[in-house]
Symmetry: C2
Subunit: 336 residues, 2 copies
């Protein structure tokens, strides 16, 4: 809904329908960083920036960073606020895209029922849309990444958290309460079967998310005899496999095996031919290779493809560009 | 496609558009039995029959049983072939509903690429439709069973086999190769992680399908000291729980726990509020109660509903009635 109508006498719909509006703003709100891009109406990025959000939890503060960032990028590309058509943002949490509300995010942000779409529309004075960040990654990969022309696929984001964006019959599937794809909670052979307390990592996530892999490594280290540092990030552990570390290879193999079990379960359930791996941990080539090998053993010749994200850490941002372009189109077409 | 056009000079479409056509034929082809129903245009059953298909594997023989059965039921209800609008059949296997072909069934039938829709249309001289039997169960429960007015739900059929009919955004989700919902293969804590050979029961199915539960019981029996028969069916084992058998209670608890893990995995993936349990094993009240209890421990207050099939062993047949009515409607409306 327009929120600036009373002041400017102009609706958000009027904005998009005016000439000269030649770009959209796309925002990826992460637990530790905020990425913003301006894209032209073909979706090509004309300017972008990234800033740290460490210590910034308050939604109003994040919105102010977005407002200033967008104005800065407009200036950098020789544009003004009058050039903006629409905006879209992804947040790391359960998002009601109809209401435009982020229902809940993880402990990093701690958001509860934040009306992100309204806040963006007020701050940027253009129509906006919001979506869960992993779902945006799936949209990005479908639009211009590894899942072009694939009707059914799953985008797996493995970083600190583990989640899936599920595209079925060509469309995102979000579930009754907007939380489909919470595969970090999956139970597979090797995970604990204990109930997960509110705010804790899911049973699969606590083993194959970034922190889970660190913990696997530290457990081996604590057992003694390792000549590598105790404090390695997940990707650093995987890097050590190529350098010949057997304990690192054991952590990789265990993680890849659990990941393959999870993918196998999604495969038999969705019968989809493609899984796209994204996120800092998910995009490590050693993990992909080892998971592919475990998966082939389970599935035989019918094994689905396991592809690395083609857009990398930009997948969500590209998804947000697509969403902002769609929002601008919808306003032009239907006035909504 | 009409196959009798040349002979009768009348297309299948002409059939439906003529007056006096007041019923549809619905068929549930099972591994051991064949059920046929005639229903009026409101979907009410006017006549039905069931016959054994033990030893009948050949598709032509099954079609002949269907043809004779339908003619018999038409006669019983004071009708003739001219009264039939359309037909639909469910088969226990992967079914390409667009092509009308049963791609593969289990060892019980051994069908490979059977053009079931064409065979039905030729035999019954009316437009026909085909579908996987578990999917038909889901359609039945959605239409007039336990899942009325529920947008996202899963129908779980647990008998000899274990499979799921998945309804998302109100529609069946079938997957890229028509084999979504093959949850008998799911890997959960407690299942084997060995690859499954072609034609063998899936890792979950081999524990909680009818034969799997028998095998669990026989394993306990072989360990000695049980005063009940070794040869009990799954439902008979569950019946013994109420009679106070501790070994039977152990088999029930283990089966219910594995089932709860599988439902939990589907729940976090689909975020759907309802699971409907069908099939002879799945409908045992002791299994439902024990699985519900395990599930509540895992999910807490947010646990999805676990409901017993409202249509029981008739779920598939009711789904077939709905499908046949839809087929007749489509022909009337669009001539397809």
């Amino acid at each position: 809904m327009p929120t600036d109508e009373a002041e400017s006498g102009e609706t958000l719909e009027d904005h998009v329908q005016q000439d000269g509006r030649d770009c959209v703003a796309a925002v990826d709100i992460g637990g530790t960083s905020l990425r913003i891009a301006l894209a032209d109406t073909t979706g090509d990025v004309v300017a972008e920036q990234s800033a740290s959000t460490v210590g910034v939890r308050d939604a109003a503060a994040v919105i102010e960073m977005i407002r200033c960032g967008v104005i800065g990028l407009l200036g950098q590309s020789g544009r003004s606020r009058g050039n903006l058509c629409a905006a879209a943002a992804g947040a790391p949490g359960i998002t009601d895209v109809d209401a435009g509300v982020v229902i809940a995010t993880s402990y990093l942000m701690g958001w509860r029922r934040v009306p992100l779409r309204n806040l963006l529309e007020t701050a940027l004075e253009v129509p906006a849309a919001v979506e869960n960040d992993v779902n945006l990654g799936a949209i990005g990969e479908q639009w211009r990444g590894a899942a072009r022309n694939v009707r059914d696929f799953v985008f797996l984001a493995i970083g600190t958290g583990v989640g899936a964006g599920i595209v079925l019959d060509g469309k995102l599937f979000r579930g009754t309460d907007w939380s489909a794809g919470e595969i970090g909670y999956m139970l597979v052979p090797g995970t604990s079967t204990d109930p997960v307390a509110d705010g804790d990592a899911g049973n699969l996530e606590s083993l194959i998310g970034g922190e889970g892999i660190r913990a696997q490594w530290q457990k081996l280290w604590d057992a003694g005899g390792l000549d590598l540092p105790r404090d390695l990030r997940a990707t650093e552990v995987f890097d050590q496999v190529r350098a010949g570390s057997l304990p690192a290879a054991a952590v990789l193999q265990q993680s890849a095996r659990l990941l393959a079990f999870a993918i196998y379960n999604m495969w038999i359930m969705f019968n989809c031919p493609l899984f796209v791996l994204g996120g800092t941990v998910g995009m490590h080539p050693a993990l992909l290779e080892s998971a592919q090998s475990s998966l082939r053993k389970l599935c035989g010749a019918a094994a689905p493809d396991l592809a690395m994200s083609a857009l990398g850490t930009q997948a969500q941002l590209h998804g947000a560009i697509r969403l902002a372009l769609d929002r601008a189109d919808a306003v032009r077409r239907d006035g909504i």
